[in-house]
Structure formats: C-alpha cells, structure tokens
C-alpha cells in the first residue's frame, strides 16, 4: 500500500491546477462567491461547462469513444479534488452524469449520435423527470401516462422537483405505458423536447429565497404532449431497469473534496469574524473544537472514498458504498453549512434577496454583504435538500440495513 502519487500523477495535478488558474476567471469566481447552491446562473454555468468541454475534461467518466478523457481512478480523484479545492462550480449532472450513461448503454445508434455530442458540448441542457406529486420515495408508483397513438406517445400528468427545468432543452422521464402488470413493469423511459407543446413549468420557490429565474426546482405539467416513439430508450416497459442503472451514477459522486472546500470557507469566516471580547473566532476554543470534530468526520469520508475509488473495494457492493457516501456526505454538507451560519453570528440575519442581482447591476439587499458572508445562510437553507434529493437519507439507511443484514444471510 502507498499513499504517494507518482511523478506522472503529480504532473497531471499540476496541469489541472494551471488550467483552473486561467479558465476559472474572475467573473465566474465572483458569481460563484454569491452562489447559494453550488451552481452559477445559466449563462455562467454553460460558459464554464463549455470551457471544460473544449479542454476535453467535461465528462471524466465517459469512455474514450464518446469523448471521455480516459483517466485512471486516481486522475479522476485528483481532478475532482483540484476543482473542488478551487471552488469551481458543480457540473450539472443531469446530462453528462446521468442520461448520457443510459443512452450509451441502452440507446439506439441514432440516439447516441443525436444526443451525446450535444450533451458533451453543453449545447443542450437536460433535466430529470422522475418524481411526481404522489410519487417520491415510492418512485415505482408513478402515474404520468403515455398512451401510444401511431408513432407517438401522448403524455398526461405532472412531474415535480424538476431541477433547472427552466434551463433545460430536453427532459428524460419515466412514464407509465401500462397499468396491467406489477407497478415496476409498466414503466418506460422517454426523452422529450422541452419545447413540445403542452409542457408548462411552475417554479417552486424554496427556503433559500424567492425566485428570480434561478430557482432550483419546478413543477411540470404535461397536457397531451406528443413524443415520438423513436425517443423511447430501449424497450417499452423496461424503463425501471434503465432507471435503476442510472441511479448508481446519480449517487456515485465523491464528497471529500467538496467538504474540504466548505471547511476552508468556514476557516475564512472564522478568521474575519470577531469573537466578541477582542479576539477573532478562529482562536475561540469552542469554535475550534466544533471545527475539529467536523474536520475529522471529513477526513474519514475522504479516506473511505480514496480507498473505494482507488479500486480496493474489499468486496463491498458498490450500491452499499454509494448509499454510505450519500448518507455521510450529505449530513456533513448540512452540518458544515450549519457551523458556517453559527460562525457568522449576528451577521447571519440579513436576508439575501437575489444572490446574483448586484453582480448584474440590479438592486439587491441594501446591506452591502462581504464575500465571505454572502450566501452562507441561504446555503444552510438550500442544503436541507441534500438529505431529501437523490433518495432520502431514510431510504439510504433502509438500503444499507438491507445490505448489512443480507451480508449476514438475514432478510431485513
């Protein structure tokens, strides 16, 4: 065993660092300093992802034949650490890290040619239409109907919590093509153009502040929406299989480097925030202890991730590990955002109306907010989502319990 990087790996790391230095320009940085959820506004997001694509680094996990960079697990780890440590925006996962894999695995040749290049170049943005008002954790109970009419499906129903639907050109969704069989087997996987007549969007303002085109989630309504049959992935009725295949990518993110970035943000706040009584918060023993407790938890996730991604999987099922990382990673995101708010003290109270307004020259909150303070409280509110989306943490614990018990030959 050996923790050291090879000379080639170090050279790769330096290349990534140098690239970030010039590509992550001051305008993007300024937008990011105000971000309450890790994303930029749409224009910024597209600009960033296009820069990555031009360098050939937009899709680290893709096979070379579709434009992936052919990295080793260590290179992927280094790339993620470097971008996270620099505070770069999150790459929107719906296209590159989700639907693309389903298209590669189960799509037709025509679908691959049609969609993959535009996903890679960010010329087309995607959203994910799984959840419905009545179907969240119990996804298989979904009701949106797709009735065959010649060479089209006619869609009726509603999708909810659709992240960035207002930015999306395409949506991939699960629809019900049959009500006869067991819930899971009547589901199909469709790709729909968001400009198809009959699709309407209702923004859902959330806890972190009112909407201004930057809302994260939406409800969608489908009224007699006609989708060509050729936009179906694979076979009719096998959508559940494809959706399950996709899930392992949805949950397969590494948290360690992002969490380290949040720790760095907290240190920055603590250095600039007076403790009351003369000193700064960074020297306050109570703060230091809470910081250290969280930092040790981050070390533990990071170590487990390095071990996992370097291929020493010690026989544990991938699904169980991705549930484990989702669980501890998101709980740490929440706890770190909470400590950041508390580190601000009374400065956590002003409400940030629209995080990007000032940058765009529109009036924002009348109180000038320094960068290290901006978006800290909205992020805490925003991060309540992390234990809910991508399968709630209760559901992850159920999955982990099933794994622990079944490894011992017990049925949970």
């Amino acid at each position: 065993m050996n923790l050291d990087f090879t000379a080639e790996e170090l050279a790769f790391r330096d290349e990534v660092r140098a690239w970030i230095k010039q590509a992550y320009d001051s305008e993007l940085k300024q937008l990011m300093s105000q971000s309450k959820n890790g994303y930029l506004d749409k224009a910024g997001q597209v600009r960033w992802q296009k820069k990555l694509a031009e360098k050939g680094w937009a899709a680290p996990g893709w096979p070379v034949q579709y434009g992936g960079p052919d990295w080793t697990p260590t290179q992927r780890y280094l790339f993620q650490s470097e971008t996270a440590a620099a505070g770069c925006p999150i790459v929107s996962p719906m296209g590159i890290a989700m639907v693309a894999y389903v298209i590669m695995e189960y799509g037709s040749e025509a679908q691959k040619r049609r969609f993959l290049p535009k996903i890679l170049s960010t010329d087309e943005c995607w959203c994910q239409g799984y959840s419905e008002p009545g179907s969240g954790s119990d996804l298989a109970s979904l009701q949106m109907s797709a009735v065959r009419d010649g060479d089209h499906y006619v869609l009726n129903g509603s999708k909810i919590w659709t992240t960035h639907a207002q930015w999306a050109d395409w949506i991939f969704c699960l629809v019900r093509t049959s009500r006869d069989a067991k819930a899971q087997s009547g589901i199909s996987f469709l790709l729909a153009d968001m400009r198809t007549p009959g699709i309407s969007i209702r923004p859902l303002p959330s806890l972190d502040g009112p909407i201004d085109g930057e809302q994260e989630v939406n409800q969608l309504f489908f009224e007699n929406v006609r989708v060509p049959v050729e936009n179906r992935i694979g076979e009719e009725g096998l959508g559940w299989t494809y959706a399950k295949y996709l899930l392992q990518f949805e949950r397969g993110v590494a948290y360690g480097s992002l969490l380290r970035y949040l720790l760095a943000k907290i240190r920055k706040i603590a250095k600039q925030q007076p403790a009351g009584g003369g000193g700064m918060l960074i020297d306050d023993p109570d703060f230091r202890r809470r910081y250290a407790e969280l930092a040790v938890r981050v070390e533990a996730v990071d170590a487990a991730e390095m071990r996992f991604f370097s291929g020493v999987e010690s026989g544990t099922a991938v699904g169980a590990m991705s549930s484990l990382f989702k669980l501890v990673g998101t709980e740490l995101q929440q706890d770190l955002s909470e400590l950041a708010v508390e580190a601000l003290g009374p400065d956590a109270l002003p409400f940030v109306q629209d995080s990007f307004a000032e940058i765009r020259g529109r009036p924002a909150s009348p109180r000038p907010i320094p960068d290290h303070v901006a978006a800290v409280t909205p992020l805490y509110f925003n991060y309540r989502k992390t234990s809910i989306y991508a399968g709630t943490n209760e559901i992850q614990r159920n999955l982990l319990a099933r794994h622990v018990l079944s490894s011992a030959g017990v049925r949970g």
Binding site: L207, G276, P346, R367, R384
Partner: protein, 375 residues
C-alpha cells in the same frame, strides 16, 4: 410549586389566539412581509386598543394590567405560533422592561405611550465587533450642554425601521450608559434591510446626535446590569416564542405524516419517522418547561437568573434546530418550499437561534457561571 396558569393568563392567551386566527393567517402575513413596510401598524393598534394587550405585563400605576414576565411568555408563545413579525419583543419586553426597571419620570412618561401603542421601540445594542457580548460597546456618549452627544454605529437592530424611539447603549467613561433616542433625531442615519425570518432590521449610524440629559436611563455609566437583565428577559420571551413555533412545526408534521402516503401506507407508519416525531416531542416539552422555570426566576439574584436563562436559551436553541430540521425532513420535497408555512417557521427558528446569543455562547456563559466557585 405551581405550574398552572391563572384564569387571567388563560384569558389573555385565548383572546390573542382568537384575534390572530381571524387576522393573522399565513397568506396575509406572507403578503404583508413582502410589502416595503413589512408590518401592519393596524395590527399593532388592535393589540393596544382592541385587546388591551400591550399593558398585560406592566403595573397598574402605568396603565397596565399588573402582570409581568409570565404574561410576556404567554403572549410570545402565541405570537410564535402565528409567526407574528410585529415588534412586541423590542417594544414591550425589552423597551418596556428597561423603563420598568428604572422607573421614575421616564417610565411614567413612556410606559403609558407604549401601552397605548403610540411608541414603538427598538433596542440598539449590537456593534460589528461585539458578536453577542453586551459589554462590547464602542459607541460613545459624551456629556455636553445638559445632555449627551452620541457617536458610533449599531448593526442588526431588529425592528429598526418601525421604531419611533431607540434604546441605545453607549460608552461614557469606563461604564455603559443607556439612552432613549428619537428615531428621527438629527445626525442619525438608518439603513434598513429584510431579515431571513421575514422581519426587518437596520444598521444605524450616530453622528453627533444630541440626546437631552433626561433621556438617560438609570445612572450614567451604570447601565450594564440593567441591560443584562433586559437581555435575560428577552431570552425568556424568545424561548417562549420558539416553543410556540415548535408546537406548530410538530403539529404540522404529525398531520402531514398521517395524511401523506408512500408505498401504500401513511408516512406515520414508518417507525424511523415515529421515533423522530417522538424526539421532537421530547425536545419540545423539556424546552417548554425550562422556559417557564427561567421565566419564573427572572426576579432572582442576577447570577441565578442568568444561569437559568442561559440554560433555557441553549436548550431551546438545540431543540428548535432538532424540531425544525426533522419537520423539514419528514415533509420531504414539500419541506423545502416557500409555499408551506413550515419553512417560514424553520427560518424564524434559525433566526431565534442567534438572537441574544447562540447555543455555544450560552453554554459557555452557563459553564462560567456554574463552575465559577469550583475553581
């Protein structure tokens, strides 16, 4: 021992609750906090004139109903349940409380105006470098021409935009003085902004603001004990408000979990959610009890009063977080939306967490006070 409310206290609660049920529904409140004004003077006038409520906690000699801290707790709990933004805390609990402490001509002049709803007060004590410390005051009050000249800056003054008068802490010599200042005094500039809980606050600069000598509360340089007591009273009131908010969050969560179905059954049938609701209940009940104990001890000697006030604030701070976070989680995606009242209660609970000292701050104050003679 007796933890029962009196008949009058029950009546006070019922009167306020039924007024709020009629005039303070969640939609109306949402529309009001989104306006530039951000509050309703009409509601304030109703509390004063129709309900005679602003006098509940004051002696009869000032036109009050003879109550005290427990009446404030009853009122604040109901205001917490309805997420009321109008400034009862700043005006009645803190402003009125300080005037009651000093008595004399100032109290005789201003308490009747507060009770009548004519004077709205805000407490301007916090400064950029102070964090939660009441003694960290850099604003100065210099004696001149039969009065004081104020210079300095206060931040995060809750209810600042609505106030007709401000209670301002300022350093004079070695000590801290407390002055009642007209909000439109010459040399005073205010910058107002919305807060995360739907309220309003101001940052205020004083540039040679002249305050007549008779507007000094207590003796010059001797205001710190007054202010410390007022802060403990504010803490008890805030804890009561948080208890009201927690009751509402738990009730909403139980109702949602009983009605929402996944996997063919109500969410409430999942044991892990049942246990979480049990934990919410446990945290809430202990908070409610400790808040009452702290409220009843507000008249005890300073060290004893401060110890239990800090205990209550630390307990309530932790509990409000636990209850709020669990409530959002059990609501799933619905929990993160602005549409439900829940998220707004969660934001108010978060704000209360840092008003008059965070949980960490009060744990330390508790340790300092309780371990003082163990060393």
């Amino acid at each position: 021992m007796d933890f029962d409310y009196s008949v009058e206290q029950d009546m006070l609660r019922d009167t306020l609750a039924s007024y709020l049920a009629d005039h303070y529904d969640f939609e109306t409140r949402g529309a009001v906090v989104a306006t530039p004004a951000g509050w309703r003077p009409k509601v304030w006038a109703d509390l004063a004139e129709r309900l005679n409520l602003l006098g509940a906690a004051f002696p009869e000699e000032y036109g009050g109903l003879g109550g005290g801290a427990l009446e404030n707790a009853v009122v604040m709990e109901e205001l917490g349940k309805a997420l009321v933004v109008e400034p009862y805390l700043g005006t009645v609990v803190i402003g009125g409380g300080l005037l009651k402490q000093v008595g004399g001509a100032l109290a005789a002049e201003w308490l009747p105006r507060i009770i009548a709803g004519q004077a709205v007060l805000a407490f301007a004590y916090s400064e950029p470098q102070a964090r939660y410390s009441l003694a960290e005051v850099a604003t100065t009050a210099t004696k001149r021409d039969g009065g004081y000249v104020l210079n300095g800056r206060k931040t995060g003054v809750t209810g600042g935009p609505w106030a007709s008068q401000l209670l301002v802490t300022a350093r004079s010599g070695e000590g801290i003085s407390l002055l009642l200042v007209d909000a439109d005094a010459q040399g005073l500039t205010r910058s107002d902004y919305p807060t995360i809980d739907g309220g309003r606050a101001s940052d205020i600069t004083f540039h040679d603001v002249f305050v007549p000598a008779e507007r000094l509360l207590g003796a010059e340089g001797a205001a710190l004990p007054l202010v410390e007591r007022a802060a403990d009273e504010a803490i008890c009131a805030l804890c009561a408000e948080a208890v009201g908010g927690m009751r509402r969050m738990l009730a909403d969560t139980v109702a949602y979990a009983s009605q929402r179905k996944q996997f063919g059954v109500a969410l409430a049938t999942f044991q892990v959610l049942q246990h979480r609701m049990a934990d919410m209940f446990t945290a809430l009940e202990q908070s409610a009890a400790l808040t009452l104990v702290a409220t009843m001890k507000l008249d005890r000697p300073a060290a004893e009063r401060a110890l239990v006030a800090s205990a209550a604030k630390a307990q309530v701070g932790k509990a409000a977080k636990l209850v709020g976070q669990a409530a959002v989680q059990i609501h799933g995606g619905m929990g993160i939306t602005e549409e439900l009242a829940l998220g707004h209660y969660f934001r108010r609970a978060t704000a209360i967490g840092s008003q008059f000292g965070s949980t960490d701050f009060h744990l330390r104050r508790y340790a300092d006070l309780s371990l003082a003679d163990a060393a």
